[in-house]
């Protein structure tokens, strides 16, 4: 590793490198001249859930969208280093990167012109997998993993947007699982859902972390404390504090973090 990185690692907690899925070093993200992220350096540990909390406009979504280089699709730019399994993602083709780092969006967005089953395998099909029985198998498997199979197994041919909002969001998760990512980024995946659907998504996240690494942005601090292993607090584009979730919510080291998690601002 080069010098720049070793310097940056001083802010990282001492750890076993093999347990890391992603790392960022002095990550800066821009919208034009506006600097939305300021020198973010943090680790995403394998098979753990990292929650990112902070008030609106603090850069948490931008951070998430930097991790799969979606930030650049909306005209933003990224400076700094992001590693996935030790290799620099800025040197990779973003299209291939996104197969490894999947994304679930705030609002469920199943493709309206495709059926439920087609939605699940859309990523594979559009990347050239043609074998019908294999696609069907994958669709079933992913719907089961997304805890949706039992609810939709009799209506697989119906339009992807014909099911309820909560089901649609799990469909989107199944669709992400189908391309076999290592990391799943979730941008407030339950913020538009009712409490029961939210609970289902949270249960699902708990199941998924056995196989995947998850980074979730949430506005809901209870949700962060329920689903995550680690929590990062962002404020004004800066990483204020990252630690085990239990520490962030009970004994944060930083005053701003404490004020935020206790509801004094934000």
């Amino acid at each position: 590793m080069d010098e720049e990185i070793t310097n940056a690692t001083t802010t990282h907690v001492k750890h076993d490198e093999s347990a890391l899925r992603m790392q960022t070093f002095n990550l800066n993200a821009f919208f034009g001249l506006n600097r939305a992220l300021k020198d973010i350096s943090l680790d995403v540990k394998k098979n753990k859930v990292l929650a990112i909390i902070g008030p609106s406009g603090c850069g948490k979504s931008t951070f998430l969208r930097s991790l799969n280089r979606m930030h650049e699709e909306v005209g933003g730019t990224i400076k700094g280093k992001i590693l996935l399994d030790g290799s620099d993602i800025m040197k990779k083709d973003p299209v291939n990167l996104r197969k490894k780092v999947g994304m679930v969006f705030q609002k469920a967005n199943p493709f309206p012109t495709m059926s439920i089953a087609e939605n699940v395998v859309a990523g594979l099909k559009l990347n050239g997998l043609r074998n019908k029985s294999r696609l069907n198998e994958i669709a079933e498997e992913c719907l089961k993993r997304a805890a949706l199979w039992d609810e939709v197994k009799d209506s697989l041919h119906k339009p992807g947007n014909s099911i309820s909002g909560g089901q649609q969001q799990r469909l989107c998760i199944a669709r992400t699982l189908a391309v076999e990512p290592e990391v799943i980024l979730m941008d407030e995946p339950a913020s538009a859902l009712d409490p029961i659907s939210t609970a289902k998504i949270e249960e699902l996240i708990f199941e998924l972390k056995k196989k995947y690494t998850i980074v979730i942005v949430t506005h809901n601090m209870q949700q962060a404390s329920r689903v995550s292993d680690y929590t990062a607090f962002f404020y004004m584009g800066k990483l204020i504090e990252i630690d085990k979730t239990s520490v962030i919510f009970t004994a944060p080291k930083n005053k701003q973090t404490e004020d935020y998690v206790t509801g004094r601002f934000g």
């Binding site: 299209v95 197969k99 969006f105 967005n109 309206p112 012109t113 859309a122 990523g123 559009l126």
Partner: protein
């Protein structure tokens, strides 16, 4: 006091609503008048012969316009072959790169093209195709119609693609689907209904054009489906027959007008049926 305000508001509401209804009626009157009058005038000349027979030589009565119906279909087909792909791809470009200076120029010129009188487009086709080929032809007619179809299809494609929520594009990209494939396989199908409407509108416009065909496809009183030969079309048929001094011919011009209107009506019905089956956003 309160009651006064309420009544005053209700009065204003009724007044504006009445104006709206009058507006609708004023819009519909000419439409129904045209439909009624063409039907009344044309119905007498419409029979089976009209669709399957050729025009009779001058002086004989009867005959039909089979060649003109087929000719119009061929001309629209040629125009569509040229106008639809160019229009759709240009529309995709404009929707995908909305901000560049090149996009601005393309968009501006498309609007200008949309406003150019169709007879000018006919002259252009005459210069580009008829003069080098040294003869009038179906190809030249199709070319002229194609140019006329482009701006409408381009702008509807652009607008319709922009109406597709960006979240679908992001979902596609997020799955590791390349940008071009996301546009073609996800965005375009979601915008299909609107784009299809644009295509139908442009076909309806092309089907009704006479001026650009006068000195490109020219018209033909005989059966011809050869693309490098002059070809008959319904609008030119109407033009010729309507100004002819024979009552019989004038009747047939009315009939052709009626058929043309019905054809466009059918296009709309087909469109409704086709799009009803597809999923909507």
């Amino acid at each position: 006091m309160n009651n006064f305000h309420y009544n005053w508001r209700k009065l204003k509401n009724t007044a504006v609503f009445t104006i709206c209804v009058i507006g609708v009626i004023l819009v519909l009157i000419p439409l129904f008048f045209i439909l009624y009058y063409t039907l009344k005038q044309g119905i007498g000349a419409i029979n089976w012969d009209f669709f399957i027979h050729m025009p009779k030589p001058v002086g004989e009565s009867g005959g039909g316009m089979a060649n003109a119906i087929v000719g119009t279909a061929i001309l629209i087909g040629l125009g569509g072959l040229m106008g639809i792909p160019i229009g759709i791809f240009a529309g995709i470009y404009l929707a995908d790169k909305p901000k560049g200076i090149f996009a601005f120029i393309v968009r501006y010129l498309t609007d200008v093209l949309n406003g150019i009188p169709s007879i000018v487009v006919g002259v252009v086709a005459y210069i580009i195709i008829v003069i080098p080929m040294k003869r009038f032809s179906a190809l030249a007619g199709g070319f002229a119609l194609g140019i006329l179809m482009i701006p409408l299809i381009t702008r509807t494609t652009e607008e319709m693609i922009r109406l597709v929520p960006n979240s679908f594009r992001e979902a596609g990209l997020g799955l590791g689907i390349p940008r071009w494939k996301t546009t073609l396989s996800i965005i375009l199908p979601a915008a299909f209904k609107g784009i299809f409407t644009g295509i139908l509108l442009s076909i309806a416009r092309a089907a009704g054009e006479t001026a650009p065909l006068l000195f490109t496809a020219l018209g033909n009183r005989f059966w011809s489906v050869q693309l490098d030969q002059p070809i008959a079309s319904m609008t030119v048929f109407i033009y010729d027959y309507a100004k002819a001094p024979f009552n019989d011919w004038n009747q047939q011009a009315w009939a052709a007008s009626f058929v043309l209107i019905i054809f466009i009506l059918l296009l709309n019905i087909i469109f409704r049926i086709v799009t009803r089956k597809s999923y909507t956003a």
